[in-house]
């Protein structure tokens, strides 16, 4: 249904609870063939058919890129989100047939790096699972600093320690352990690239400190998927296709557009890739911009919106779709 990527017909080959919040899902190709090769940091978009509703959520691939018999993702349950993670946790069972997109990488390793310094927070560990596997196989130089709330919620901390030993450093919030960020960033060899994936606050903190300490912007990489936030329902007119739609509380604008049979391009569904950028023809109300793609100036202009994560409150909104 999307113009964005090619689709893969898969079957859920395993569902493994990892801890109180996180469950891992394994997918294989229905035709028994190998899945496409991918690079560490790539994600797939998982299609969830939940009755009338279709949700499309991006998840990082966390298996080794060297093994394409199956794709694995880990999903953290979000009890107050829009229901995608709850659907995965409650409804997805082994043997179920699903559809996922081809892998897309918006958080790629810079292969010129002499060293890869990785900072993960919580479920932000998943892209690093694949990246460390890729680098370890090539004899790459990496170091991973991973903060989690408690040891029992340190998803894959044990696996990573076992695989990479002292190249992995763990920090537990409940023990008041903190990354000594300034010291860490000040003591890296030339040619180091920095990667961060975790909550928005952590990403902003790391980017700010790196900038202050003189790290060139092109050596700082971050994965910043915003999950679409629920909000008040609103009405939209799609001028090109001549349709009027309602976006309900738990639906993203992009999902509502798709439900009306219109297919804008997309890749990340998290406000970073820019594919679904949409022109605003007219509006009477205010935008709630949640993306990382448009500039502040574009946000203020009221002329563009990223329908995958952003919303609107007001009387009327007409889009060029």
């Amino acid at each position: 249904m999307s113009t964005g990527t090619t689709k893969l017909d898969v079957v859920v080959s395993d569902v493994v609870p990892v801890n109180d919040l996180v469950t891992r899902f394994h997918f294989r190709r229905r035709d028994g063939e190998l899945l496409p090769t991918f690079s560490g940091g790539a994600h797939v978009v998982v299609e969830m058919r939940d009755g009338e509703r279709t949700r499309l959520n991006p998840y990082s691939l966390m298996g080794s890129p060297l093994d394409t018999r199956e794709y694995t993702i880990s999903v953290r349950r979000d009890d107050v989100g829009r229901g995608g993670s709850l659907f995965m946790h409650r409804n997805v069972k082994p043997g179920m047939e699903m559809v996922v997109s081809y892998p897309v990488n918006l958080f790629s390793l810079d292969l010129r790096a002499k060293k890869h310094l990785m900072l993960a927070g919580g479920i932000g560990i998943t892209p690093f699972m694949a990246q460390t596997a890729q680098l370890a196989a090539e004899g790459g130089n990496f170091e991973l600093h991973y903060t989690c709330r408690t040891a029992s919620l340190g998803t894959y901390a044990d696996v990573l320690r076992e695989r990479y030993d002292r190249r992995v450093r763990l920090y537990h919030d409940d023990l008041d352990e903190r990354i000594e960020l300034d010291r860490l960033l000040s003591t890296q060899p030339l040619g180091t690239h920095l990667y961060v994936c975790g909550p928005a606050g952590m990403i902003n903190w790391v980017r700010d400190r790196a900038a202050s300490l003189g790290w060139p912007a092109e050596t700082v990489h971050f994965e910043h998927f915003a999950a679409p936030q629920p909000g008040l329902p609103f009405d939209v007119t799609l001028a090109v296709s001549g349709k009027s739609i309602r976006v309900d509380e738990q639906q993203s604008l992009l999902e509502a557009i798709e439900a009306a049979g219109v297919d804008p391009p997309y890749l990340c569904r998290g406000g970073v890739c820019g594919q679904c950028e949409t022109n605003v023809i007219s509006c009477d109300g205010k935008f709630i911009h949640n993306d990382h793609w448009l500039s502040e100036e574009e946000h203020r202009s009221g002329k563009k919106i990223m329908p995958c994560v952003s919303r609107f409150e007001g009387r009327s909104l007409v889009l060029e779709r």
């Binding site: 090619t6 690079s39 292969l111 010129r112 092109e218």
Partner: protein, 346 residues
């Protein structure tokens, strides 16, 4: 039955010719009677049987001769093939892509057998049968990119994607229209396109880069580009300008049909899976005027396109010196009748 590979040369005595079947499958690049830049990119999907798009990586009757010509160029100038140190993984990606596509399209000529990372590659036209370990450079006689591009028609640029840009960080370039890998290596997309006239003002490169950085795995794209070359010479490089530049002064009304060639590049763009780079194959097709005008529609249209081409483009493409002679020659084949839209012959 397979392809009958021609014995021919792209230098010295220039014995290169197209067979009648290959004239008909020539990728004529003008769908209307005028030419101007556009972002003419479309999905690279399989096209009609008997066209150059029948397979996504095309192998034709010139394959063996082109590979021999490439070997001669590399022997004289090894810098035509370069790969920066971080591009080896992308080289393996390209090796996989080209082996898979050639074996898929031409099973009578190429066979790929895989047992885990133990691979066997048979290339019958070139008499190669190698077994190697995928990912282990020490098991091949060259680096992975050089190994496979010595066995694949067309030039290949491998672009690293980072910082929202594409970087020319590896390539095999021996059949180029007057540009140099050795000069462009390490440049980004805007830097290596800097010499192109008119297109910057039209914002074409900004849009093209946005498109290219979003190319997805499993969804390659393509476009056609063109120029003209005197004599069927594949290696029209800046390094060898002294060998081919003067040819442009040798065109006379008597030898136009034999000497002047339309040179069409089928450029495609593919996301590479392991490295997240982009490979940009530039496949060159040559056709001499005598061959081209066997299709009356192409003769009429080419006359109108060359006659009306903006001066900046004619200069950039290096046509200035012989354009009047060519237009005069072609005008005799243009009766002014309406030419149907689309690329193909009538």
């Amino acid at each position: 039955m397979g392809i009958t590979f021609r014995k021919e040369t792209f230098r010295d005595d220039f014995t290169f010719r197209n067979s009648p079947e290959h004239i008909r499958r020539f990728p004529f690049p003008f769908h209307e009677d005028a030419y101007m830049y556009a972002v003419n990119i479309e999905p690279h999907v399989v096209g009609p049987k008997g066209s150059v798009l029948e397979n996504l990586i095309d192998v034709d009757e010139h394959y063996v001769a082109e590979m021999q010509d490439r070997a001669l160029v590399l022997a004289e100038d090894p810098l035509r093939c370069q790969s920066l140190p971080h591009m080896t993984l992308a080289g393996w990606d390209l090796l996989e892509l080209l082996m898979e596509q050639q074996a898929l399209g031409y099973p009578e000529h190429f066979t790929l057998t895989r047992d885990g990372d133990r691979w066997r590659w048979i290339n019958r036209p070139l008499g190669i049968d190698d077994t190697f370990t995928f990912g282990d450079t020490s098991t091949l006689p060259y680096g992975p990119m050089e190994y496979i591009t010595r066995q694949s028609q067309g030039d290949f640029c491998i672009l690293d994607q980072r910082d929202g840009n594409l970087w020319m960080d590896a390539g095999m370039v021996t059949t180029q229209a007057d540009w140099s890998l050795d000069f462009d290596i390490g440049m980004n997309f805007f830097e290596w396109h800097a010499p192109v006239p008119l297109a910057h003002e039209k914002g074409i490169f900004v849009r093209a880069l946005k498109f290219l950085t979003n190319i997805q795995q499993g969804k390659p794209a393509r476009r056609l580009n063109w120029t003209m070359t005197i004599n069927p010479r594949l290696d029209t490089s800046p390094e060898n300008y002294h060998k081919w530049g003067p040819d442009r002064a040798t065109v006379t009304p008597e030898n136009v049909g034999d000497k002047v060639h339309l040179r069409v590049e089928l450029q495609s763009f593919w996301r590479l899976p392991r490295s997240n780079g982009i490979v940009f194959p530039i496949r060159c097709y040559l056709i001499k005027m005598d061959e081209l005008v066997t299709q009356p529609k192409w003769a009429r249209r080419l006359h109108r396109v060359i006659r009306d081409l903006p001066e900046e483009l004619a200069t950039y493409k290096g046509l200035t010196r012989f354009r009047p002679t060519l237009v005069e020659w072609l005008s005799k084949l243009d009766d002014g009748s309406v030419t149907s839209s689309g690329f193909g012959p009538d």
